[in-house]
């Protein structure tokens, strides 16, 4: 197994700042916008973006929720293991809001497809956008593309992209792991 660094802590920080600025360009005060981190890995990125919007850019009242897509996945009984659910926490109304899905890696697009179905349980959003830190192009199974993209990667299928965060792995970094 070999791994190479795709983004180090400084590069992650620069990319995050750009993504946050792009969000502000499009959503201004975030009055009608809600952020939704996709469980399990998207919530760390979502937490970080919320923190930056508040602390670095002085925005208030940023609404952030977590969405678990386990029960909406299309591989129930197709994967070898039982799918384990994570916590969904959305304590605001999604109806008529601009929703921004936040996930760390966009790969086949199936998670986002499931998330699009799942979010409808909380109302009919005005529009849905997608922000991802890493976009693995050429590996999509569905016609889904990000609106805000950190970095594009041409990783091949047996390579794995791993995003680490200070909060749980001790460092901000993105690795490509070849197994």
């Amino acid at each position: 197994m070999s791994q190479k660094v795709l983004l180090n802590a400084t590069e992650v920080n620069i990319t995050l700042n750009r993504l946050v600025c792009q969000l502000i360009e499009n959503h201004d005060t975030f009055e009608d916008t809600v952020l939704i981190g996709i469980q399990p890995r998207g919530i760390y990125l979502a937490d970080r973006i919320k923190k930056m919007l508040i602390e670095d850019y002085g925005l208030e009242n940023i609404k952030l929720g977590y969405l678990d897509i386990t029960f909406y996945r299309d591989d129930f009984r197709r994967s070898e293991k039982t799918l384990e659910a994570n916590k969904t926490k959305i304590d605001f109304v999604v109806e008529d809001k601009k929703v921004v899905f936040i996930d760390d890696v966009l790969y086949t697009g199936r998670s986002i497809n499931a998330a699009l179905t799942a979010v409808q349980s909380f109302g009919r959003p005005q529009e849905v956008e997608l922000l991802c830190l890493i976009d693995r192009r050429f590996s999509r199974h569905l016609p889904i593309q990000p609106d805000y993209r950190g970095r594009q990667v041409d990783a091949i299928n047996n390579e794995k992209v791993k995003v680490s965060w200070v909060e749980n792995e001790g460092e901000d970094s993105v690795y490509v792991i070849n197994s």
Binding site: F71, F76, T82, E84, K87, Q120, S121, F122
Partner: protein, 308 residues
């Protein structure tokens, strides 16, 4: 991730503490789902479930059907009163006929103890026991423990007394297994005639005095007197039963702590429990009903994920 150690839920006797833990964690997520504006997930859209009720049921049948529909499974219902069972068909024939219509899971209530175990040896489908005679009613015991966990934080170390007709109760047996598995202390209380002779072998204590039992416990699970299963007279009169084993406001207020009152339903108001107790904040009877749907969703989801 973890999965259930069994392919059927035939009784609490056959599952482990880890299984119960997994079912409860999954039920937590489903409880959140059933409180959403849209209470349905598409997980089981390619699963067909047959609800076979060879014995009457209102709440359990509705609860299972709702759980299945909230998971988007296709559901077919069958009740013995309107079926070929009356024409002399055997259980295996009835079920095999239904399974030949491509059914993946069977939820069954049957008056004969062991009907679920028997069926599991002869057919290819996942089986959930929804009550077999006076033997087991595993999903009821799971939702009871889940409700205790929700109200008191955990089940381990809690003192639980099961009051009433222990002899004819499948709820009592499943509850005893489930509570002991999770580390609770269990006593049973009722007229001596309604307590099975060797019940102590399950690790529970017998207490014939209701007041002493209530003073000891954190939770009292009140059972109904099952007149329909009684072929002889087990106590002199309903009035005498109520005087000795009925819970009322006075006796609860005379205790030095507030205990949790549970009841699996249907309630005979004024017999084992008075209306003012059943409708009070101490009673979690309606929470049990709501939790029933979440727990049954968890059981069905986890079993369905093991179907090949």
């Amino acid at each position: 991730m973890a999965e259930l150690s069994v392919n059927h839920l035939l009784g609490i006797k056959y599952i482990t503490a880890a299984d119960i833990d997994l079912i409860f964690k999954t039920a937590d997520h489903f409880k959140e789902v059933i409180n959403r504006p849209i209470k349905k997930v598409p997980s089981l859209r390619d699963i067909t479930i047959a609800n076979l009720f060879f014995e009457n049921s209102t709440r359990t049948k509705l609860s299972f059907e709702l759980a299945e529909k909230r998971l988007s499974a296709d559901v077919i219902n069958f009740s013995a009163a309107a079926s070929s069972v009356k024409k002399g068909e055997t259980l295996i024939d009835t079920v095999n006929n239904i399974l030949s219509m491509k059914v993946d899971m069977v939820v069954m209530r049957h008056p004969n103890p062991g009907a679920g175990v028997f069926l599991s040896k002869h057919i290819k489908a996942s089986i959930v026991n929804a009550g077999d005679g006076a033997h087991e009613h595993p999903t009821q015991a799971l939702l009871d423990s889940y409700s205790i966990r929700e109200r008191l934080g955990e089940v381990a170390g809690k003192n639980v007394v099961i009051v009433g007709d222990i002899l004819h109760s499948r709820v009592a047996l499943s509850n005893i297994y489930a509570l002991k598995l999770q580390g609770a202390n269990v006593k049973v209380c009722g007229p001596k005639t309604l307590i099975p002779k060797y019940i102590e072998s399950l690790g529970v204590e017998v207490e014939l005095d209701l007041r002493k039992a209530l003073e000891w416990c954190d939770v009292a699970n009140m059972l109904r007197v099952q007149n329909e299963r009684m072929d002889i007279s087990y106590f002199p009169s309903t009035r005498e039963y109520t005087q000795q084993y009925g819970v009322n406001k006075e006796i609860l207020e005379s205790l030095d702590k507030e205990i949790v009152i549970m009841h699996p339903g249907p309630i005979n108001r004024g017999v084992e429990i008075t209306s003012d107790v059943a409708d009070s904040g101490q009673a979690i009877i309606l929470d049990q009903v709501q939790n029933g749907v979440a727990v049954r969703m968890a059981v069905i989801y986890l079993l369905a994920s093991k179907i090949q």
